[in-house]
Assembly symmetry: C2
Homo-oligomer: 319 residues x 2
């Protein structure tokens, strides 16, 4: 009998879901709105209804083993979503418990970067690794730490927030309220902000001077770099320097076998990997030098978050 786990990835705008088998194949995918519902009960009613309809696409005899959820500010220990700034629902939402009323199955929940780390372990490039770090580079910088084969949740369930370590004293304003957080420099908006700083210093010879702040995105910076645009190249170098140095700190914490980069910026290939690696090796303690691989994630982009969410359950079942 075929076995599936329901994977649910809750984003600020959309919620993606699917039925994922042990090999990471995703079936009966669906997308439902998140932010059109002011009330979490209405949101969940709609989501469950869509899941029940989608499930009818599954063929042959099958069994559903559980529900894994990736959600902003997801607390693994309590199955709650807590004060997520990019969701409309305030306070502490007991989401796992609420889903449990519809599915009498194990329901597990964590944040999306932790889910991606589990996805890398269950389906991706970390299947043989016990110690690694996952870095997701999107509108922010997310991270998931795996130590001794287990995801690090920490005392309060929120461990692995590397996007919010400080890199510049009194630096760029961050969405979290602090200044100078890593993700204000290393993320899609982060490299854009760096481009604007560089244009202010010297815009000569750069095609990026033709875009407004609202127009520019990280793909344009990547395309400019491929044409040897000096500002774009410099922006990648600075981004890799800041990331590489912070990864050196992370290595001193958990001594991983590898660090995976996932998401939009990671797709810039050598433009981001080379400086990251270079400055990481320069900065890291000798004990760890030339030991830690920096690798592109092997999760497929389209379903990574849904796969990661479902990995929460597959990982539990393997214990």
């Amino acid at each position: 009998m075929k076995e599936y786990v329901i994977g649910i990835d809750i984003g600020g705008t959309f919620t993606k879901s699917g039925f994922v088998d042990r090999n990471g194949n995703c079936y009966a995918e669906s997308v439902t709105p998140t932010d059109t519902f002011d009330n979490v009960d209405d949101y969940l009613d709609n989501l469950i209804q869509v899941l029940k309809v989608s499930e009818k696409q599954l063929e042959g005899p099958y069994k559903i083993l559980g529900v894994g959820i990736g959600a902003p500010n997801g607390n693994f220990h309590n199955g709650t979503v807590e004060n997520a700034t990019n969701l409309k629902w305030r306070g502490i939402i007991p989401l796992a418990e609420m889903v449990n009323k519809h599915y009498d199955l194990p329901v597990k929940l964590t944040n999306d970067a932790n889910a991606a780390a589990l996805g890398e372990m269950v389906y991706g490039g970390a299947s043989e690794m016990n110690d690694f770090i996952m870095i997701t580079l999107g509108t922010g910088l997310g991270s998931g730490l795996v130590v001794g084969g287990e995801l690090v949740y920490g005392h309060d369930g929120f461990a692995g927030e590397l996007g919010h370590v400080n890199v510049v004293e009194n630096g760029r304003k961050c969405g979290c309220g602090n200044h100078g957080c890593l993700e204000t420099y290393v993320s899609a908006p982060g490299i854009k902000r760096t481009v604007f700083e560089l244009l202010a210093l010297d815009s000569r010879g750069s095609e990026l001077s033709g875009y407004s702040f609202d127009q520019l995105d990280s793909e344009m910076i990547y395309n400019a770099a491929k044409k040897d645009d000096p500002v774009a190249l410099k922006a990648f170098d600075i981004t890799g320097k800041i990331l590489g140095r912070k990864l050196a700190d992370s290595i001193a914490h958990t001594s991983p076998e590898a660090i995976f980069l996932f998401g939009g910026l990671a797709k810039s290939g050598d433009y981001i990997f080379n400086p990251t690696k270079k400055y990481m090796e320069e900065s890291v303690m000798g004990t760890f030098r030339n030991k830690v691989k920096i690798l592109p994630s092997r999760l497929t982009d389209r379903n990574a978050a849904v796969m990661g969410a479902s990995a929460l359950i597959w990982k539990e079942l393997e214990k």
Copy 2:
């Protein structure tokens, strides 16, 4: 029948050892030289001989359950001491295997700060904690990370080297070969270096201006601080700022319940704890603010390293 674990703490100059019971009581302690032996075989022959003689002091029927060793650059995974800069023996020493020839018992080995973290968990203030960080402040800054009730060893067995995260680009020269490592600022020699920087800026009204670099030690700085010496007070504030900010980074990694400070500098009490706490809370991501305790270690100073080493075995036996 009384049960003991042999705890061995290998320092650059001396090796301390003792027979430790499950409550952390240390019996038949001994101190043997480390650096008088150019050859590790001779060193070990002497150490074993002393242990065998010391063992005769134990009274009544007893059983020895294992040998725990704390050593510089100790690799837990392999039981080796690897290229330790403050030991005379070069290369990779299979110390656990060598000890095993004399004691047909479990032999475990790690570095001294990891051992101290285990000691805090087995005998000290972390007995009820699953997630905490141990910081040892001595001639360097050592650290041990505990995640989910387990010490973090990492892929290569050397995790938890927080003394060697960078805090100042091109900063102070560190014994590890890099510049600007945390321990060049936060340690007994670190605060002394800070005092000398401050004296260079403004030495007025400070009794510390009367000491040479070779004379000054961290206890003199503490004593001056108690008399409101402006340079001493400022030095503690700077030390706590640098430590507190880096602890904020560590919290974002593993979200501990508490951070313990151990060793000479930690005995300066409020002078070091207050600024550390203040700057840590200022710098840490909101999610973690006012959640993480900074506590003095509850290991007794005299035997802490030997206790920690023996905790390696007690911890394994409890599995």
